[in-house]
Symmetry: D3
Subunit: 209 residues, 6 copies
Amino acid sequence: MKEQRVPGGWLTAEYSMLPYSTLQRKPRDISRGRLDGRSSEIQRLIGRSLRAVVDLEKLGERTVWVDCDVLQADGGTRTASITGACVAAGIAFNKFCEEGILQSSPLKELVAAVSAGVVGGSSCLDLNYVEDKDATVDFNFVLTESGEFVEVQGSGEEATFTQAQMDEMLELSKLGVGQLTDLQRKAILAGETPAEEGQLLGLVEQFQK
Amino acid sequence: MKEQRVPGGWLTAEYSMLPYSTLQRKPRDISRGRLDGRSSEIQRLIGRSLRAVVDLEKLGERTVWVDCDVLQADGGTRTASITGACVAAGIAFNKFCEEGILQSSPLKELVAAVSAGVVGGSSCLDLNYVEDKDATVDFNFVLTESGEFVEVQGSGEEATFTQAQMDEMLELSKLGVGQLTDLQRKAILAGETPAEEGQLLGLVEQFQK
Amino acid sequence: MKEQRVPGGWLTAEYSMLPYSTLQRKPRDISRGRLDGRSSEIQRLIGRSLRAVVDLEKLGERTVWVDCDVLQADGGTRTASITGACVAAGIAFNKFCEEGILQSSPLKELVAAVSAGVVGGSSCLDLNYVEDKDATVDFNFVLTESGEFVEVQGSGEEATFTQAQMDEMLELSKLGVGQLTDLQRKAILAGETPAEEGQLLGLVEQFQK
Amino acid sequence: MKEQRVPGGWLTAEYSMLPYSTLQRKPRDISRGRLDGRSSEIQRLIGRSLRAVVDLEKLGERTVWVDCDVLQADGGTRTASITGACVAAGIAFNKFCEEGILQSSPLKELVAAVSAGVVGGSSCLDLNYVEDKDATVDFNFVLTESGEFVEVQGSGEEATFTQAQMDEMLELSKLGVGQLTDLQRKAILAGETPAEEGQLLGLVEQFQK
Amino acid sequence: MKEQRVPGGWLTAEYSMLPYSTLQRKPRDISRGRLDGRSSEIQRLIGRSLRAVVDLEKLGERTVWVDCDVLQADGGTRTASITGACVAAGIAFNKFCEEGILQSSPLKELVAAVSAGVVGGSSCLDLNYVEDKDATVDFNFVLTESGEFVEVQGSGEEATFTQAQMDEMLELSKLGVGQLTDLQRKAILAGETPAEEGQLLGLVEQFQK
Amino acid sequence: MKEQRVPGGWLTAEYSMLPYSTLQRKPRDISRGRLDGRSSEIQRLIGRSLRAVVDLEKLGERTVWVDCDVLQADGGTRTASITGACVAAGIAFNKFCEEGILQSSPLKELVAAVSAGVVGGSSCLDLNYVEDKDATVDFNFVLTESGEFVEVQGSGEEATFTQAQMDEMLELSKLGVGQLTDLQRKAILAGETPAEEGQLLGLVEQFQK
């Protein structure tokens, strides 16, 4: 999984939609024998986003898996997975500190993600399933607590968009991420994974010393 | 392949790096029994980019496959694939018109793509392999001839970036795409696929009437 | 899925343990490319058990999938899956009746399952993970509300057992199933899937008219 | 294959029906790329049954594979496989003793299996293909020479059964296994694998020192 | 299976070595999830050889599968498979005639195969396993009853051979095939598949009307 | 890959037809998840042919992969692959000598291959796609520079052939290979892989010290 030979640990994510998370039952990956392209793309995105805010050297020679299983889907499952995975990782790192496994949390700052789109000509944040289907432009923004970007993914969905539209969505994303990081901070303090955006995120930390 | 029930045709892409396209031989997908996540992600991007400038209804009840096989890789194979694939599609559509299969080309306008990144603190266009490895930010822009965006993909590569850096790369990308569309126009007129950016792109048009 | 050509519908089950359901993270089936033998065996058992109490002819030309995803495992996941799946099916059938899809529920009677075993020489019901590991005999009983058997599976776990031991466990199983069917009746009336035995069961009904 | 870390060796089984073993040709597992659930279930059963009567510690650090390939199927292939596999293992162990590889046979006692069922309301032993198709209850019993049980598997085949029926079949199974162990003893002494119940069993012993 | 659109039926072969057919146990194809290259090559050869002597048009709209499962291997399993498969097909076709399914046998003439090689400098026919390992040249000849060739496959096994050596082996092969076709004729008349060359060949005829 | 335990290195080949190499687009192997039997057969042939003229001991403890990717197919791709692969290997070995990796080239002599067939009753060399389709007999000859045979593969393509026909094609093959080895010598001296017979062959040498 770890492609380059760097010192320190690794953090990787797995993403899967449970069959009954969608209105029309989604067949399991295993019934086709392979992970679909979309899921593979999303779990690579979640892993990159989290690694941008985790000090892998401080993590030490361990691999942390974050499992993102979507129990109910209503638009934006990839951004909710990133936001929730950061909370799960934060709680897990704190637990490692309590147990004396780590001296301080390798989470440098929070990371959260929002979706945005152009629906009926105007820019919207956090599209639900119905809005998402009608959107002509589909954006995902991953930002840190300090307002820097980790990932920007915008797609014209077989259409095109202007720079003005992109700028508008960029501004909205900053507002949205600001609200999410507030919620994340509370959830990490509370030590519970929030059932955020109709989804439930599990985390398994596995140490390979 | 075609996910939504829309009238008209479809255009899809396949992307593969030949084993000897890289300095260290890359094992074939088939030796592991499945397409890797990165290739799957890239061929979905190529398909979406082209479909944004193709009038699928005008294409009629056909599926066009664009095969992008990388013979030599030196950074930016996904953007070169999009740029070359548009030329290949343009030539193919013209051929269909000459043969009376289509009345006019379904290519609404040209689409081209460039990579950009932040290397040593400054924004660069069209990174080669060595620059790409050192880049802290990695962007891909897909733009149309008329300057609209089709796809924007930026990744902090386990780092973060500011909006100022993104804006700088956006400007560079417009310049780059402007130069590429000039070259594309000439290549389509000449009716030959250019061996662009150290790569060779094949096109197979397959009709399913 | 439906092996014999009989009139009426079909009911099938899928069983999967989520990666974080066990103390040591369980790799996903998809990471090995195939369903493991144990999961395949369990989902066949769940399907058979439910079909024993469902009037498939009354169900009509439909296929119902019951998804049993184990969120937390602590011994007896296969028996808890059967018990919970019966509740999920009961609620779903009632919903079909309310919606006028069916005239009356095809659930002929309730079915529930318990595990039993011989631990330290004495027969026990509903073994947890620690007891299960120490058990020399491992039994699963599937019984109907009316006290008839649907499935009996006993295994000496590389040991043997006597008829007296089996008879003892048979008696225990009847008591256990009696208690479970009481709980099932209430849950179906309440119309909610119980988070029973540390597990959560989803149900997706899919109609193929 | 060996799931728990125990000292000593291991014994495992593989089960396969040859394409022409059934009246209607059965496609090979390899043509679908994976072992079917039924075969996987059966070979796990054969392995468990044999390991219950083999002293794995005495076997030493070796793995023995027992291959059960069904050349002609007429009901009860799983029970015939267990019965024949025990003979094959017994002969192999004796050969190991003759060759000085082992000092005494690790076969603690014989194990044999019978199928039973309820056909037309009455309990029957060793059902053939036609009876098996009509049976409302389908049982498999694995017993040792000394009359203890190793495995009991009863299934209502989308029906149910009473304890009285089960008790009747239990009695029949003891009679059947008694006759089979007599035949097994003779066959092991003769040193030849019998072509029992229309089937032929091969055995390969492979030592991994 | 049938690659070209020709009128009439088809005849295809499957080839597999049972795990215990070789001195060192050969793992099943299914344990690796795919047919190995050698088996695939051999079953294509068997199919081509038989189709050369079968009137596919006379066979009618049916597909015949010939299953060649090697129970004991001692060199030349591919040539023995062809020779035996022809007998099996001959018997099956006669049975079809008796049953009124066909009016006359579509087997135009017999086909048989032999292996030959250069061992210790001199040409040999029908090499066993020990000779085969030492051979510097390895040939397989498939000939018809009337002395025409169907397939010639010669390989220097990482060595080379002269035309003189090939001519010598060609002469030997004609003698060998002459003897085999005599045996085949008798076996077809007797209506039994011979256990030829330490192997047993099964045949399944499956009609797809 | 290397089947026998011999001292020295190994040389292996991979063969693949690009999707647009044929008139009708050929789906990629990966879209079916496995290498087809024909490709597997061809790459085994290429490897054997080259190893017959390469001194593996002199090559040292290395593995050389020769990649044969067919860009345009017009009959005889397997023989052109062998002929071109020998040139590629020759150039690579010379480069190893220049770089001081090897002291002298392990290529003992040249190897080249031609196809031959019987079209309309007369023997022809180097059949193109149209001739190949009409041929009743299809031969491939692999010969060394010194006129010895490495491989002879003749197939009646659901027909038969006489020894006279085979002798005629043998004579033609010697003439053809003589011409090819002259071209190979020039190409190796020039140090460039020729785009021979409508095909382009890549070579990747990978050292595993």
